[in-house]
């Protein structure tokens, strides 16, 4: 297998709106004339290699979540090219891909299969996932009774159990309690030392600094700066101060 990597070239993601400013798909845009479009990500290029922890920083609406969704396979590029080489584990929202009416156990079984495990593997992993989340009895209760932190812990444990080469985190790790943030940081370090990639977005810069040595500063869907984390962070904070 090739080395774990992410490569983006002239990457673009376009958002289409109808004349009432409702977001629409391309097929619907053909039917509803008179709409507008905007590029959420535009002509973006970067390379991330094995063992790199990369933070996406920037103001809200700068394209951080869109880039993470592209890497996680949630979205496809509308322009340019994105090559993701390696198994991706993603935690992109506080809902963590969980369905409220299902129990933690049922959600874990479903998400394990969607993340690439077989049904047998996913079922066999459930006790380990329960152990990793410390949810205990709550693991068999509906997720709608969970706090944001419990959801994030379950979502992270499922994503982590699939042994991803590339770990994608979007702010949700900031919803975690202190103990679990420590676990996330440790797992991120393990992934990096094993030649994996961690790419995370958020506004908690001290947390990001624990596992990201590099940062991309995004603004208006473009890269404003790319370099060592502390250097880019200072530039960003200086710019926004």
């Amino acid at each position: 297998m090739d080395a774990v990597s992410i490569s983006a070239k002239d990457l673009g993601v376009r958002f289409l709106f109808d004349r009432y400013q409702r977001a629409v798909t391309p097929a619907l845009a053909h039917l509803r004339r008179g709409g507008t479009q905007t590029w959420g990500v535009h002509e973006m290029a970067f390379e991330i290699g094995p063992g790199e922890g990369v933070a996406l920083i920037g103001p809200s609406g700068s394209g951080k979540t869109t880039v993470l969704r592209l890497i996680a396979g949630v979205l496809s590029p509308d322009a340019g090219r994105l090559d993701v080489n390696g198994r991706v584990g993603s935690l992109l929202s506080t809902e963590a891909g969980l369905l409220g009416l299902l129990t933690g156990r049922e959600n874990a079984a479903l998400l394990g299969v969607l993340a690439g495990m077989s049904r047998t593997q996913s079922e066999a992993a459930l006790d380990q996932i329960n152990h990793a989340t410390h949810l205990e009895d709550a693991f068999d209760r509906p997720v709608l009774s969970y706090s944001e932190g419990m959801k994030a812990r379950l979502g992270f444990a499922v994503a982590d159990h699939t042994e991803p080469d590339i770990l994608v985190l979007d702010e949700v790790h900031e919803a975690l309690d202190h103990e679990f943030r420590q676990i996330v940081a440790e797992r991120a370090h393990e992934a990096l030392s094993g030649g994996g990639i961690v790419i995370a977005a958020g506004h908690d810069h001290p947390l990001l600094a624990t596992f990201c040595s590099r940062a991309l500063w995004l603004t208006d869907g473009k890269i404003a700066a790319d370099g060592p984390f502390e250097e880019v962070r200072r530039a960003y904070l200086g710019d926004t101060a």
């Binding site: 798909t25 993603s90 929202s93 369905l99 077989s118």
Partner: protein
């Protein structure tokens, strides 16, 4: 001979489809034996209401009216519930769709499978109605699996455009359901086609439900084999819908996360 990669892809898609369906069954119908009661109670209640309408209000009972109605209500129930399920198939999994990449083309199919489980349970009502009216199975009852397969093909076929409509225009959901309900009444749902004559008889043949309803009656009530047109027309429509809307859904699913933004 399929390559090992192809077989692995098929196996993986199967696992995803089954997992989505199991979770959908739990979300939509809960857990335990009460689900069976609900699946049977829904068509049973509908048949009861229509039976009162046909025998007392319209005074056109015909032959074994309860069984005749069940032959229409049960397949139509699958058609309706599949559309309802499909229209929310993506939105109901919003948290998953926004969090990870997976084969989302399986979502409408999974919704149709969920409703097929309920449909399977409601088939018990047909057996019950045959017993009530003393209608014995004949050799033509063996057509039932073919008739059921045609029903499923049409249901899966409509699931894809319904799922796209649910994403594109969720606000028209109630209008779509009103239109779907009309399809029952512009088909021989309440009375069999043999009791309808003239232009109305010919026009009803345009509705694919007509062939399906009559096929169930042929196999279970009249002891006849279904006419070729009765089965081929809805089956062909199902195939055409799949041929048009599965590729469109596959193309559109890459954009779902954009229009599901809060």
């Amino acid at each position: 001979m399929p390559s090992p990669d192809t077989l692995a892809d098929v196996r993986r898609s199967w696992d995803v489809l089954i997992s989505l369906t199991i979770s959908d069954l739990k979300v939509r119908y809960g857990r335990g034996g009460w689900r069976l009661v609900k699946w049977i109670a829904d068509p049973f209640a509908l048949v009861g209401v229509y039976l009162v309408l046909v025998t007392l209000v319209l005074d056109r009972p015909g032959e074994a009216p309860g069984l005749s109605l069940a032959c229409a209500v049960i397949p139509f129930q699958l058609f309706t519930t599949t559309i309802v399920n499909a229209m929310s198939a993506v939105a109901a999994r919003r948290s998953i769709v926004l969090n990870m990449g997976f084969n989302r083309t399986l979502l409408p199919l999974s919704g149709a499978l969920t409703e097929t489980v309920a449909f399977g349970a409601s088939l018990l009502l047909l057996a019950l109605m045959m017993a009530v009216y003393g209608v014995a199975p004949t050799l033509d009852t063996l057509w039932l699996p073919v008739v059921i397969a045609t029903t499923l093909l049409l249901a899966v076929g409509v699931a894809y455009p319904a799922a796209l409509l649910g994403i594109w225009m969720p606000e028209i959901g109630s209008f779509v359901m009103s239109f779907v309900r009309v399809l029952f009444f512009i088909a021989p749902g309440l009375v069999p086609l043999s009791q309808i004559s003239g232009t109305a008889h010919d026009l009803l043949l345009i509705n694919p439900m007509t062939g399906l309803f009559e096929s169930y009656r042929d196999a279970l009530l009249y002891g006849d084999s279904p006419g070729a047109f009765e089965l081929l027309y809805p089956a062909a429509l199902g195939v055409v819908l799949l041929a048009v809307f599965v590729p469109l859904f596959r193309s559109e699913q890459r954009q779902f996360a954009k229009i599901m933004e809060p």
